[in-house]
């Protein structure tokens, strides 16, 4: 008990009755925050992106303190959807939100979040089970016969009280209820409000809009205590930062998207570098969407990719000739995983296939392996129907004869 309080971590030692007097000497490094779980690969604390298939593709989830970059599809429909899933997951898990946008007001984005599908395995059910286990004496006939010694001991709580489930499902056609939205702590940054439109002052390193955004994020992290500065008695939470369409002309960055050889390309890269430094030193996670199809210079995109941790790019079929291709008829677009970080390890978890496609259904955003159908063209040599008929005739003559058609059977 003393070790747990020394570590300053809210471990459920009080609720768990000690079966033995043995205590582990090492401190428990895993902080139990709702909506997180430790990674099985490298021990990092993971949060869900809101889309369970995306969690699987990037290695179990998004590590706390990292930056996820989504390269937008051409008309920004699916990347916006992913951002909404990310924020909705934060609301459901009880995390704090920080929404930054230059185009739509963050309040509008918050109102458009998809409603979560509340499933059967909710917290109330778990409590009912525990209550039933309490009065085991009445159920001696129905319950399994276990050794009488163990029946008197209270049930060990195997699930973490903090997170009953990692990753939820959302119904896109309905929007989240307003009281759920209001219950979440949300900080917003809307560029036209923060920056008067006619200001022309620009610092040498970074665009004014980016500087203001960085200061705003830093202020929130420090004020709410996500960097460990605040008092320890408050239950820990994660700050989810969502930035929409960074690098577009609406953020005041007139170089990256408009020119082929921009002079101030370092504005965005410096911002990402500073943002990642802020994230590493605090309990926060960030999702940024960038309209990479507008960025003319591919070398800059390479630099941006290196500066972020996990990079995923979306390519939607709407408006392109691939929409009518029967190969892709079940899907809405392709998903490319461009980069997965090596966090405290030499290797990273690589998805086993590079051909991933996504589809957005009402209740689920699925990412699946793209299967190529078998090649049934005429060039493939196969037994024609005529040969089969002839070999059938030969078989009819007797058991001894082998059915060799006029052509060689090829396997």
């Amino acid at each position: 008990m003393n070790m747990a309080t020394k570590a300053g971590v809210n471990v459920n030692a009080g609720t768990r009755a000690n079966a033995t007097s043995f205590q582990k000497k090492s401190r428990s490094k895993l902080v139990s925050i709702s909506g997180t779980r430790p990674s099985v690969q490298n021990g990092q604390l993971l949060v869900s992106t809101g889309v369970t298939s995306l969690d699987y593709v990037i290695g179990g989830g998004l590590a706390v303190g990292t930056l996820l970059l989504i390269e937008e599809d051409k008309y920004d429909s699916y990347s916006r959807m992913l951002l909404k899933y990310f924020l909705a997951e934060g609301v459901v898990c009880g995390h704090s939100l920080f929404i930054a946008s230059s185009r739509d007001h963050p309040g509008d984005i918050l109102q458009e979040l998809p409603a979560p599908l509340l499933d059967e395995i909710s917290n109330s059910e778990v409590e009912k089970e525990l209550a039933n286990a309490g009065d085991s004496s009445t159920e001696t006939q129905d319950s399994m016969k276990i050794a009488w010694r163990y029946q008197n001991l209270p049930k060990v709580q195997t699930t973490l009280a903090s997170s009953s489930r990692f990753g939820h499902y959302y119904d896109v056609s309905k929007s989240m209820s307003t009281d759920m939205c209001e219950a979440a702590t949300c900080h917003s940054f809307f560029l036209p409000n923060e920056l008067p439109l006619e200001s022309a002052a620009e610092s040498s390193n970074m665009n004014m809009g980016y500087i203001k955004l960085l200061r705003s994020i830093q202020g929130v992290i420090h004020k709410e205590g996500f960097d460990g500065a605040g008092p320890q008695n408050k239950p820990r939470s994660i700050l989810r930062i969502g930035v929409h369409s960074l690098g577009s002309a609406l953020w005041g960055d007139d170089d990256i998207c408009c020119k082929e050889n921009p002079e101030h390309a370092h504005s965005l890269t410096t911002f990402l570098y500073s943002l990642r430094a802020l994230l590493r030193t605090s309990l926060s996670v960030c999702m940024v969407t960038v309209p990479s199809h507008l960025i003319q210079n591919k070398a800059i995109m390479g630099r941006i990719t290196k500066l972020c941790d996990t990079v995923v790019s979306l390519e939607s079929f709407s408006g392109s000739e691939r929409e009518t291709n029967p190969l892709y008829k079940d899907y809405h677009g392709l998903l490319h995983v461009k980069q997965i970080p090596h966090l405290n390890s030499l290797m990273c978890e690589v998805p086993d296939t590079k051909d991933l496609a996504f589809k957005l259904k009402r209740k689920q955003f699925t990412i699946e392996r793209l299967h190529l159908p078998p090649d049934l063209s005429d060039t493939v040599s196969r037994l024609s129907k005529q040969d089969l008929a002839e070999s059938a005739k030969l078989l009819g003559l007797g058991c001894g004869t082998t059915a060799t058609g006029k052509k060689h059977l090829d396997f």
Binding site: D76, L197, S248, A249, L250, G252, Q296, G319, T324
Partner: protein
């Protein structure tokens, strides 16, 4: 889909008409103006490229009183000092002030002719931000329709401007032989982004008549899966005349000599 956008049933936002030197989009822009005037809406034109007289030709004089022209053409460098609009003065706030000088309670359709002139003189971010500010609505402006000459700018600039737009109408010249009664002006490809995130795209063959009403001659197909051809069917193109929408007008298109 072009007709719905012209009619304004789809609501606010920013509509960008992209043209090039091969095919002029100004006639389509005047089609938009005419449709807005027919609906009794006040129209404000911020003009830099053509004079007021040239813009008003073809529009009937009764409706022309609702058209307010902010002159940026006759005195671009403001040598005469008569209070004309100059490109340096352009901003969302200034435009709004100019619009609210007329005391019309109705929401205004703002036409910008043209965006290329602005982009050549002011940084593209300022233009995009001002367009976003104006088209967001809430203050006097119902929708913004802007003309953009795509071959005057870099691909990145055109891409950035179209990224801000809710609908992009691209006009291209018609190639090959065309059957039908009216001579088409060109092929228009409309791309519309709805609030729900759905994107729809359509390609149509259009023509603009002398009184600047827009007629769709032929639908060249939406971007959807093509229906399988049945053997007995001959490929006959259907001429769609949107007569019902133009109240009382002659459904047959005028024969161009």
């Amino acid at each position: 889909m072009l007709v719905e956008i012209i009619q304004g049933t789809e609501g606010g936002g920013l509509i960008v008409i992209k043209d090039s030197s091969e095919c002029d989009g100004r006639s389509l822009l005047k089609g938009f103006i005419k449709a807005a005037l027919q609906r009794n809406e006040p129209v404000h034109v911020v003009g830099f490229e053509v004079s007021e007289n040239e813009l008003r030709t073809g529009l009937d004089s009764g409706a022309a009183s609702r058209l307010v022209f902010h002159d940026g053409y006759s005195d671009p460098l403001q040598w005469l000092g008569q209070g004309k609009l100059s490109v340096q003065d352009y901003s969302a706030q200034n435009t709004r002030n100019r619009i609210s000088q007329t005391d019309d309670p109705k929401l205004v359709t703002l036409i910008i002719d043209s965006l290329s002139w602005l982009l050549l003189h002011t940084p593209p971010t300022a233009v995009c931000q001002s367009l976003q500010e104006l088209s967001r609505g809430g203050m006097k402006v119902k929708r913004v329709i802007a003309l953009l000459h795509s071959d005057l700018h870099e691909q990145g600039v055109v891409g950035s401007v179209c990224h801000v737009a809710t609908a992009v109408v691209t006009v291209t010249p018609v190639s090959g032989s065309v059957s039908g009664e009216a001579e088409p002006n060109g092929i228009v490809r409309t791309l519309q982004r709805r609030k729900t995130g759905k994107v729809s795209q359509e390609e149509e063959c259009y023509s603009v008549r002398e009184d600047f009403s827009v007629q769709i001659l032929r639908d060249l197909g939406t971007k959807k899966q093509p229906a399988p051809h049945r053997k007995g069917e001959t490929k006959q193109e259907v001429i769609i005349a949107s007569a019902s929408l133009w109240r009382g007008e002659n459904p047959l298109p005028a024969r161009r000599q």
